[in-house]
């Protein structure tokens, strides 16, 4: 955005948002008896705290501070958007991270409060009734609901490995059916965005990302789990803009995944200085040295953890002295090597029929170089006694 046009573009953006909020306001509320404001108040948050949250969310989405009141308004109409949340092959960690904090944050309250038409972890319906709820929600809110999917999707001849509900539908079929009529689709967590842990080698269930089984556009919100901020932020973004956010090359929202952990890291100065923690608990660790040599994968990982932090902004892994494990990258279980060891020491497991199991690139390299040198020495020795034919 050019500086000279900033004022006017923001003005028109502001107007667009206002219009959109008005439109959403006219839609029926999903829950008649309460409102998000009420819920926030009942949980002991003051108006001031709420506005602070709205200000932070506004900044996170790279909007100017003047948009804060608009953000606060937008939250209030968040209960107009029906949401269907599907669980595929996963650990429910993404849901848990959002819902089970010791002191519920405003983010988790909003999530609790928005109209989750179908969410297996928190709904009471079971069996046939649950199935019916899902079908009804898809029908009733056709083209209006937001689909959030957690978990990888078993595919191919092992598709049946994930079979859910009384109809015995496969996870793939369920997510395809739900994708068809969704207004927007968010793949929440690395499993649903990239396949995740069940897609790690040898991937016995042939698990794939949601985007592999549907041809609808999918917004990836990876992380293992993604921070509550990134999940709620994605939702708020959609609420305000009504369109899909600008995406990076792996279809992650740019506002959250544009930069590497390494680019936003408070230890980066130590990295560039060449000052590294050698062992957990050593002097360097106490002085806040860089965690690269004890396996930090921040240089290969795109996410905003260093900015948004976890547990209501208390801390994040690297601040706590533990390297990033690269959780928001595709296939990170396979590509990032061993936790706590630098990428250089990545093992090659199944490569060469298992011979790679404890071999690193350097070890294989040195072995091959040794073989080469031995071969050369032998050749030279022969040449010394029996020169090549002229």
């Amino acid at each position: 955005m050019k500086v000279s046009t900033k004022e006017t573009t923001y003005d028109s953006l502001y107007a667009t948002f206002e219009e959109r909020i008005e439109k959403l306001k006219k839609l029926p509320k999903m829950k008649e008896d309460t409102s998000i404001e009420q819920a926030i108040e009942e949980n002991g948050f003051s108006r001031r705290e709420f506005m602070k949250w709205a200000g932070a969310m506004t900044a996170m989405l790279s909007l100017p501070a003047s948009f804060t009141p608009l953000m606060a308004e937008a939250v209030k109409v968040a209960d107009r958007l029906p949401i269907i949340w599907l669980h595929m092959a996963e650990c429910t960690g993404c849901t848990e991270s959002l819902l089970r904090s010791a002191n519920p944050s405003i983010d988790s309250l909003i999530f609790d409060y928005i109209s989750l038409e179908y969410q297996e972890t928190i709904m009471t319906a079971v069996g046939w009734q649950a199935e019916q709820n899902l079908e009804n929600a898809i029908k009733k809110y056709k083209g209006r609901y937001i689909l959030m999917v957690e978990g990888g999707i078993p595919n191919g001849d092992t598709e049946y490995n994930l079979t859910v509900g009384p109809h015995g539908k496969s996870g793939k079929k369920i997510s395809q059916d739900a994708s068809k009529d969704a207004a927007a689709i968010f793949a929440i967590g690395t499993c649903s965005a990239f396949g995740g842990v069940q897609a790690a080698a040898p991937n016995p269930t042939n698990a794939v990302a949601l985007s592999e089984v549907t041809d609808r556009p999918v917004i990836n919100v990876p992380g293992c789990p993604p921070s509550e901020k990134n999940i709620v932020g994605t939702l708020m973004h959609y609420l305000l803009y009504g369109t899909l956010p600008a995406l990076d090359v792996f279809n992650r929202p740019k506002w959250a995944y544009r930069l590497r952990i390494h680019d936003l890291c408070e230890r980066r100065g130590r990295f560039d200085a060449g000052e590294f923690v050698e062992n957990f608990g050593d002097e360097g660790a106490k002085d806040g040295y860089c965690l690269y040599k004890v396996g930090c994968k921040g240089p290969y990982t795109f996410n905003n953890c260093g900015k948004q932090k976890f547990n209501q902004g208390t801390s994040w892994p690297i601040q706590a002295g533990f390297g990033c494990i690269g959780c928001s990258e595709p296939n990170f279980w396979d590509t990032m090597g061993t936790v706590n060891e630098p990428l250089r020491d990545r093992l090659y497991h199944t490569t060469l029929g298992g011979l790679g199991a404890d071999a690193t690139a350097d070890r294989i390299g040195i072995a091959l170089l040794t073989v080469t040198t031995v071969g050369i020495a032998a050749h030279a020795a022969i040449a010394a006694v029996k020169p090549p034919k002229k």
Binding site: G274, Y300, L369, T372, H379, P387, K389
Partner: protein, 237 residues
């Protein structure tokens, strides 16, 4: 027989030779620039992968060991890019005989007889085959692999570069860099490919140096000198 010949030369018996241009100055320059950059890039690269030097301890925030290593790596990286691009241009479009002869080597490459004799020569079984081009088939394959590795190192290096420097050239190459990043399955893989390509290059280079020495000792036509002086000696027929 060969020993006799050798003795003859040693005893000063005349063998008629002529001096021919093997390598042009541009060829020799880019060769040695590449050699130098590989040495520096390998050293700094190993440091980048696993910083094995402790900086002298200093309470002031004036230490930039890793940043300096990376800066050197990048400076020599771009020097290598220049050398490889110039050489690629010369090979494809160069006017001098050397570059034309590089192409002629392909004729030897597709000739199975040359292959058999070349292998036989290195296994001390047969004579060196007469070549049409400058490189024998094994040499050609090795150099071809080398260029694939150079380009792999350059591409993966650029992808890593655009994430270190977001402005200027880094910014200009950002889009294409990220395209390659997706192709390779993420930055961690890009680093891995960069690292493995280095190892493959190192092994080929060790063999390359041995073969060059071998041919200098037994070929006796000054082809090793040629990479320094440009000239070599061909027997007059």
């Amino acid at each position: 027989m060969s020993t006799e010949n050798k003795d003859n030369i040693h005893h000063g018996e005349l063998v008629e030779v002529e001096e021919v241009v093997e390598f042009t100055p541009a060829y020799r320059w880019q060769h040695w620039i590449r050699a130098l950059t590989i040495v520096v890039l390998t050293f700094t690269g190993f440091y980048i992968a696993y910083p094995f030097i402790d900086p002298s301890s200093n309470p002031e925030p004036t230490n930039f060991l890793y940043a300096n290593m990376r800066a050197v790596h990048l400076a020599f990286g771009f020097l290598m890019i220049a050398a490889v691009l110039i050489k690629t241009y010369l090979t494809l479009l160069g006017k001098a005989d050397t570059y034309k002869a590089e192409f002629v080597s392909m004729k030897d490459l597709i000739n199975p007889k040359i292959w058999i004799h070349q292998l036989g020569y290195y296994m001390f079984l047969s004579k060196h085959p007469p070549l049409k081009g400058v490189y024998n088939p094994l040499q050609f394959m090795a150099y071809f692999a080398m260029y694939i590795l150079f380009y792999l190192l350059i591409i993966t290096g650029i992808v890593l570069y655009v994430h270190v420097y977001h402005e200027g050239l880094g910014g200009a190459l950002y889009g294409i860099g990220r395209w390659f990043e997706v192709l390779m399955g993420g930055l961690a893989n890009v680093r891995e490919i960069h690292h493995i390509s280095m190892w493959a290059l190192l092994i080929i280079i060790v063999i390359h140096i041995y073969m060059a020495v071998f041919n200098a000792v037994f070929g006796k036509n000054g082809s090793m000198d040629a990479i320094f002086s440009g000239m070599k000696w061909n027997k007059k027929h």
